[in-house]
């Protein structure tokens, strides 16, 4: 069992939790993820690692209430335990293997979208600990949905915030900020890391491609085991089929087939909709929620 040490509501539907998992905390690296399963009947949900503390033996996760299982996770309080918590999974970010002195000459830009700000944080923090200040753009719907702003400020070079509704920072999309930095602000970057919703990563990669800047994205396909045994998370990168859980989750953003990846992540939309409806409104929908679940079929 894996005890919840801290629970914090970051926005109306984004939660932060510290989980007691000493083995994972000791081995975790930026770019990796974990799989959590609430109880006996729960499903296995992949979540990126936001932070880790080997001394305390804890791992920080941030998740958005978007489906039935994440909704159920929000019912857990400090002192409760998740039945299963496994990791760290996936490959760490490539830069942690690079020569530090060479890394110091590289200008990094991170583009974070929504809850994707959480997995960006440990990467920027790691670079900062090694004397590298990376710039960060956070894109979010509005001021009320912005997360980890102070934490990010403390470890980043420049931090730019973009909101869809203009309620805070720049009004517009992360790609608008990106273009503005390069076209008008004289900024130059050697490498971009973009993490967020698939659609945002797709457009971020298209934007960076136009400027010919190497770009890493972190994919979040459907997963089951997370150890390479099933291929549920398979994605096409260049001409190859890769398993995001073991070969990734980070890939060359200019080679990822985003349309296929987005289509595959919708595979269980209807089932998720039904399950969420059932949880939120009780088992009153005897028509199994068909036609009223918000699914896309």
């Amino acid at each position: 069992m894996f005890k919840i040490l801290k629970k914090e509501l970051l926005t109306e539907d984004i939660y932060l939790m510290d989980i007691e998992a000493p083995r994972v905390a000791k081995s975790a690296k930026p770019g990796q993820f974990i799989i959590v399963k609430t109880d006996e009947r729960g499903e296995r949900i992949p979540l990126t690692i936001c932070d880790y503390d080997a001394d305390k033996g804890s791992v920080t996760i941030v998740f958005q209430k978007i489906g039935n299982s994440t909704l159920e996770m929000t019912n857990y309080e400090v002192g409760d335990s998740f039945k299963d918590f496994v990791g760290p999974l996936g490959q760490p970010s490539e830069f942690i293997y690079e020569n530090i002195e060479e890394l110091k000459n590289k200008r990094f830009l991170f583009i974070a979208g929504g809850v994707g700000t959480a997995p960006v944080y440990p990467q920027v923090k790691w670079l900062n600990q090694n004397g590298i200040k990376a710039d960060v753009i956070i894109g979010t719907r509005s001021k009320s949905t912005l997360i980890l702003e102070e934490e990010m400020k403390a470890v980043a070079g420049e931090l730019y915030v973009a909101t869809d509704d203009g309620s805070y920072g720049f009004k517009g999309l992360v790609t608008d900020v990106f273009k503005d930095l390069l076209d008008n602000k004289g900024k130059k970057y050697d490498h971009v890391v973009a993490i967020g919703p698939m659609i945002m990563m797709k457009f971020a990669a298209l934007a960076t491609k136009a400027y010919n800047i190497p770009t890493t994205v972190s994919l979040n396909p459907i997963m089951v085991d997370g150890t390479g045994m099933c291929g549920a998370c398979r994605v096409t990168v260049g001409d190859e089929v890769k398993f995001a859980c073991v070969d990734g989750p980070e890939f060359d953003g200019h080679l990822v087939n985003f349309d296929e990846a987005m289509r595959r992540s919708r595979m269980y939309k209807t089932e998720e909709g039904k399950a969420q409806l059932k949880t939120e409104e009780g088992d009153t929908h005897h028509h199994k929620g068909e036609g009223s679940c918000g699914g896309d079929h």
Binding site: R41, R44, D84, G87, G228, A232, E271
Partner: protein, 462 residues
């Protein structure tokens, strides 16, 4: 009673069982088991024993059954195997112990598997304690993987007095016994769980949710956590895909994903959260036991289920019993057929499969007749779900994070027949070494490795 014929075993009716997940085969009751046991000739030089990868004293336990000494029978088997209720169900006895039985020459072999299963089930139902262990010797051994190889190695070492910890990557123990083989062939909560509980009763500790190579490495176990030896029984769990166009369409699954969702995550039960998506018409590609498991599972989820296999019925690698069961249940066999492309609708879902007809040509180096495409035989099968059951290979995770292990060209770990690898204090066995094979071969490898580990630790101490 005809001495040359097996006592028949009771089964759930095909037309009822193809709609539920309960066990197909009911097994023998006491009376039937005793009658079947009486057929055994109790050979002086029993050939059946040589056909068993863990060399169970088969006539020994069968004579106990014949005399209604069921507890005694359980104790005889326990000397060799910790998983009789599992092996009695899933071993391919027709190519192992039963193939060697002398009665098989003129009639039907003794139903050794069904008798072993009876003893395993009887000792579970009667709570027989088989947990006799030697005095603790204080030496720690780590076992990687809780499938049949790891469980057997752990059980044997615990009996010798070792302090054993099993590390399992998934949230449940049992390996393929829990995620792969379906409930209707191997009940999880009763059979598998009890046999694993028995191994825990020997004092074996189990840590689930630990992925060796990620959560902790083999070298850390040896250098920092005080383990004197490590046994790798991580299996061959990496799925193989065909590499044909359309394979990433929505509705194409590996058999591993499909079976894991259904068996391990219990997606077929509505109170469990994991979903499984299955269409009206399912094509399972492959002809092995996993293909049979996947196709029979699809059937039970309400689909019209097809086996697509590129050779003919005679070459099907699955157990005869399973092919027979599948046919009875209504699985459609499309033999000498091979998919070449998966067709996709405008939303990215499977809406057909382009196939070619095959014929068998000359025998190849392995002696199997090579299937070849019949020119101009292309046709489209109307299916909406495709499950790839083409086999699996070992996961490279452990080897890529452990210095000093050798791999062969099939990415299997190189180990000799005792389980010793190129790296001191590291042993391996089961599918991780020989590639996807059987439960009982994995158990045999676990047993051999336990012997080697014990020998090496004793020698290093003295």
């Amino acid at each position: 009673m005809d001495r040359m014929k097996k006592v028949p075993v009771r089964e759930q009716e095909a037309d009822i069982r193809n709609k539920n997940f309960e066990e197909v085969c009911y097994g023998y009751n006491e009376e039937e088991a005793v009658a079947e046991a009486a057929r055994c000739l109790n050979c002086k030089k029993p050939l059946c024993v040589a056909g068993c990868p863990v060399s169970i004293d088969i006539p020994g336990f069968i004579q106990c059954v014949k005399n209604k000494e069921f507890e005694e029978a359980a104790k005889v088997i326990a000397k060799y195997s910790a998983l009789p209720a599992v092996c009695g169900r899933v071993c391919p006895q027709e190519t192992q112990c039963e193939q060697k039985c002398v009665l098989d020459i003129k009639g039907e072999a003794v139903a050794i598997g069904k008798l072993e299963r009876f003893v395993g089930d009887w000792s579970r139902e009667n709570n027989i304690d088989l947990s006799v262990t030697a005095e603790k010797n204080g030496k720690k051994v780590a076992i990687i993987g809780s499938g049949p190889a790891g469980l057997t190695c752990a059980g044997d070492l615990a009996k010798m007095g070792y302090d054993v910890t099993i590390f399992e990557a998934l949230h449940e123990t049992g390996g393929v016994l829990v995620y792969g083989i379906p409930e209707f062939r191997l009940p999880k909560d009763t059979v598998v769980k009890t046999e694993i509980d028995n191994i825990e009763k020997l004092g074996v500790k189990i840590e689930t949710n630990v992925i060796i190579g990620k959560t902790v490495t083999i070298d850390e176990l040896l250098e920092e956590e005080g383990f004197e030896a490590v046994f790798i029984g991580s299996g061959a769990g990496l799925p193989i895909f065909m590499g044909i166009p359309g394979e990433n369409a929505n509705g194409v699954f590996s058999s591993n994903e499909f079976l894991t969702r259904v068996n391990l995550m219990k997606a077929y039960k509505k109170e469990y959260s994991t979903p499984v998506k299955i269409g009206k018409k399912v094509a399972v590609i492959g002809g092995g036991n996993v293909a049979m498991d996947a196709v029979r599972t699809s059937l039970r989820l309400g689909s019209e289920a097809h086996i697509i296999y590129r050779r003919s019925e005679a070459e099907l690698p699955a157990r005869l019993e399973e092919v027979h069961h599948a046919k009875e249940e209504g699985v459609i066999f499309d033999l000498l057929t091979n998919p070449v492309e998966i067709l996709i609708d405008e939303n990215g879902w499977v809406n057909g499969m382009k196939c070619v007809k095959m014929e068998l040509g000359e025998a190849d180096a392995s002696g199997r007749r090579r299937p070849q495409i019949i020119e101009g035989s292309e046709f489209v099968m109307d299916v909406d779900t495709v499950i790839m059951a083409l086999g699996t290979s070992p996961n490279p995770l452990i080897c890529s994070t452990t210095v000093g292990l050798d791999l062969n060209k099939y990415r299997c770990i190189c180990a000799d027949e005792t389980g010793r690898t190129a790296k001191p204090r590291v042993y391996a066995g089961g599918d991780a070494v020989i590639g996807a094979a059987t439960v009982i071969l994995a158990m045999g490898a676990g047993k051999e490795a336990a012997k080697a580990i014990d020998e090496d630790i004793r020698n290093s101490v003295n």
